[in-house]
Structures are given as structure tokens and as C-alpha cells.
Amino acid sequence: MKLTRFIQKLILWELLVGMMVVIRNQFRPKVTVQYPKERIPLRPRFRGVPRLRYDPKTMEELCISCLLCEQICPDDCIAIKWEKAPSGKGRVLKDFIIDYQRCCLCGLCVDPCPTKPLTAIYMSHDYELAGSDRLDLVAGRTDLHEGRTVTIYDK
């Protein structure tokens, strides 16, 4: 027992065992993703920046300007402009502004959204948020519906 211990110590046994692990890992598949060229597929529940959506059937505005998302936002980054509907009942959305500089992507605004079955505001899969101007990151109603234009440099 003592002799095997001594021999193990002499031939740097534990370092060899560790080295074997390193060599074994050399032949495992690569996990590095070359980001701008390749992208990781996103999971369906991925939370990117919040965006608005139309009713997929009628292509009408889903948002009913109930202001619940504006109230629950911890960063106060949502601003909604609305006016009374001409018929006198309900509200008409005038503008919907989300300041992406302040948004913390927590997803709390989606929880209370009352429109069924699809929520008017949803967490999109957009995650590339760089801009060269502060106003680039303030998304108005059209930006929220169509998504911000992102310049992709592929060279």
C-alpha cells in the first residue's frame, strides 16, 4: 500500500489522471458558438425586448389601452397615449412608447395583459439592442409592431 502510494507520487499519477481528462475532452464535440456568424437557437419562452402585436386574424390593434403594463413596469419605461373612442365606449390607442434603455426585460408587463387568447404585449425574440444614439433605443408604435431595424455586419 505504502509502496503503491510512493510509486504513484513518483510518476505524478494524479497529474496523469488529470491530463487524461483533458485529453478526453479534446475529442468531445465543440461547444463554442462563433457568435455573429452562428447563433444559438432560442427557446420558445425566450424573453427579448417587449413588443406589440396585431390580432393575427383581423390585423387590428390588440392593445385596449388599459394601462396595466404601464402600471406594473418596475422601471417606468412604458408610456401609452390614448383617447376616447368615437363611439364613446372604450379607448383608442394613439401611441405606445417603450424606452429600451430602461427596460430590464423582466416580463412583468406581459402577466397582467387582459387581451385573450394572445396578449397584446409580448416578449419578442429580439435581443440585439445596440444603437449609436439614445433615441435609437426609444421604440414607438411602429417599431414595436415591426421590430427595430438592426444592421447586421456579416463581413
Binding site: V17, R45, I72, C104, C106, L108
Partner: protein
């Protein structure tokens, strides 16, 4: 002719091995550290004060940003406190999902600790392997809640969503793989003579001093005190799970390594039990609506066992839907107090090892 004098130098706040923005003022006598003063506050965001002006539900995203390495624990500690304050019951299924997430996050946190701690000391490959497995856990979190670092995965009184289809199988597969990979980490480090030389008898602190400085978590357990809130004051569903608390009485950096490595396996064991025992049906939220009605002038303290130690939340309510005072007892801040006594008399190179072994997150200590 030759004169020696003590020298004061700065380590950090941009030093790569201070794990964030910790600044250490060191007084050196040659290679020996005579004295040290940790300077914190570079990441101070005033979360406690900010919380006083927000409704209870709005504070959850802030708790993500305190201990960003283990955000699920922060969520659970805060929400547990709110639920205790308002007397809300969490449905069983939601409690199980919470525990699964927290334990997986504990593994992720320990993997990050293992990688960066070993990297600081000089082992490069374990860093890459640890982060590879951590990425798998983050994928699981992304599939569940949509975020990879700041999860905001729980809501008051429950969880917002059920586990997605196929998640259980993916998780079981990961746990099976992780047991093998854990063996590899042990093969690389546990008996490695370089690792032993760098960690044995470095950063010695015995149980008495740990308790005096209110150090908790693996640092305390590596000093031979079996203090774990999951066993001592069970919250969520920990009383229904079968697990051990790894304890070591080495009191040094190596003992903390042993304890954390064993903890990872215990977490794997716990997640396996949870996946097996979790009811397949049942409500996810214990409360309808979002109005909170805490009792007036109530003070509560609720603590959970985070990966770094006791993570507590102290809330005072004044009857409104906002806390009157919200105090976070974060383990990194408490554990940081042990840094100065540990590095005293040691070598400069050991300071790096000791910062690593305390496993501090500066977002957690500065808040």
C-alpha cells in the same frame, strides 16, 4: 544601508481576480500581507431605498440584480418574505418548481465559483469545463422562464408557468451527464499536488471566528459547523427531501472546495427527488389578482440558504402595497468580513485564492 519599509498597494477594483469590482488596500511587507481593507460600494445601486417606493411585485426584478450569479435564490428569499408577510400559501407544485430551479442555480453558481477560483489559482481547463456545464443549466432556465441570468422566474404566491414540455427529460439527461462530469472535475483537482499546495492551510478560519463574524454557508460548514437553513429551518418543501449537509473540519480553502463539490452532488440528488415527487397537476398560483394587503406594522425576517450562505430579507410593512423598509441580508457582504483576518500574514498570491474561496459576488454585497 538597505532599508525595508511596508508598502501600501491597491488591488482592484479592475483586477480580474477580484470577481467584480472589489478594491483591496493591502499593506505589504515584502510578499507578506500585513493588513488589508476591502473597499466596496462600486456597484451600489441603492436597491434597498429604491424598494421603498415600489410595490411588492416590482421589487422582484431588483432581487435578480443583487446576486446575479444565483438570481433564483434572491427571488425565492424575497418572495418568501413577502408571502410570510401577507400570509400567502404557495401551492405544492409551485413550491416544487421553485426548489428545482433554486437547486439547479446552486449548481450553476458553484460551477462558476469552481471555474473562476481554479482559474485564479492557475488551472485553466477546469474553467472551460465548468462553464460548459453551466451553460446547459442556463439553457434549462431559458427554456423555463426565458432568461439566462436575471430570471425573475417566480411571482408572489407561486410561479407564472408550468415546466415546458420535454423539460423534465432534458433536466434528467443533464443531471445524469453532470454526475459524470463532476467525477472529471474531481479527477483534475482533488488530488492534484499543485492544487493542494495552493489551497491547503490557505485562508484558515476556525468555527469560532466564523461565528463571530457571522460567516455562513460553505465557509462555515467547512469549519465543521453543520448549519444549513434547509435542514435547520426548512422552507418550501425541503423537509420532504432527503439530503445530507456536507461538512468538513479542515477550515481552509481546500475544505471549502470539498464542501462545495459535495454540495453540488447533493443538489443533483435533490433535483432528482423533486422531479420524481412533483405532482403533475395542481394550481401554480396561490392567489388571484395582484393586490397585496399586508397587516399594518408587521416586521418579518425570512432567510433561505443560498449558495453563498444565509440570504435573508427583512421587511416592515405599513399596511400599504409597498414595504416601509426592505433590508437584504446578503451573504457576500457578511462573508467579506472574513477576508481581512484570512489574508493577514499570508502571501499576496494567496489573497487571490482567498477571494475565490469566499465566493463573493459584488453585486450582492453592494446592492
Amino acid at each position: 544601508m538597505f532599508r525595508t519599509q511596508e508598502m501600501e498597494i491597491n488591488m482592484g477594483p479592475q483586477h480580474p481576480s477580484t470577481h467584480g469590482v472589489l478594491r483591496l488596500k493591502l499593506r505589504l511587507d515584502g510578499e507578506r500581507v500585513v493588513d488589508s481593507w476591502p473597499v466596496i460600494g462600486y456597484l451600489h445601486r441603492g436597491i434597498e431605498k429604491l424598494s421603498e417606493s415600489k410595490e411588492f411585485i416590482k421589487i422582484t426584478p431588483f432581487t435578480d440584480r443583487m446576486d446575479y450569479v444565483c438570481a433564483m435564490s434572491g427571488n425565492l428569499a424575497y418572495l418568501g418574505a413577502v408571502e410570510k408577510l401577507c400570509g400567502i400559501k404557495v401551492p405544492e407544485k409551485a413550491a416544487y418548481i421553485r426548489v428545482i430551479m433554486v437547486e439547479l442555480n446552486r449548481i450553476a453558481s458553484h460551477l462558476l465559483w469552481l471555474g473562476t477560483h481554479a482559474l485564479d489559482i492557475g488551472a485553466m481547463s477546469i474553467f472551460l469545463y465548468g462553464f460548459r456545464e453551466r451553460e446547459m443549466i442556463l439553457d434549462l432556465f431559458e427554456a423555463y422562464c426565458g432568461a439566462r441570468l436575471t430570471y425573475n422566474a417566480f411571482r408572489i404566491s407561486g410561479v407564472p408557468a408550468d415546466l415546458p414540455p420535454g423539460w423534465k427529460e432534458e433536466c434528467t439527461g443533464f443531471l445524469k451527464l453532470f454526475r459524470q462530469r463532476h467525477r472529471e472535475y474531481e479527477q483534475i483537482l482533488t488530488a492534484n499536488r499543485i492544487w493542494l499546495k495552493r489551497t491547503k492551510d490557505v485562508g484558515y478560519m476556525d468555527a469560532e471566528h466564523c461565528l463571530a463574524l457571522s460567516v455562513t454557508g460553505p465557509v462555515l460548514r467547512a469549519a465543521g459547523v453543520a448549519r444549513d437553513l434547509r435542514k435547520d429551518e426548512p422552507y418550501a418543501i425541503y423537509d420532504q427531501l432527503d439530503f445530507d449537509i456536507p461538512v468538513d473540519d479542515g477550515c481552509d480553502t481546500y475544505a471549502r472546495y470539498i464542501v462545495r463539490m459535495a454540495e453540488m452532488l447533493q443538489s443533483v440528488h435533490m433535483v432528482e427527488q423533486c422531479l420524481e415527487k412533483m405532482p403533475s397537476e395542481g394550481p401554480l398560483m396561490g392567489m388571484k389578482g395582484r393586490r397585496m394587503k399586508p397587516r399594518k406594522d408587521e416586521e418579518i425576517y425570512f432567510a433561505i440558504e443560498g449558495p453563498r450562505g444565509e440570504q435573508g430579507v427583512y421587511l416592515i410593512s405599513d399596511g400599504t402595497d409597498r414595504p416601509y423598509r426592505c433590508k437584504f441580508r446578503n451573504s457576500s457582504f457578511a462573508n467579506l468580513q472574513a477576508l481581512a483576518p484570512m489574508v493577514q500574514g499570508g502571501l499576496v498570491a494567496d489573497v487571490v485564492a482567498i477571494i475565490g474561496t469566499l465566493d463573493i459576488v459584488l453585486g450582492d454585497s453592494d446592492r
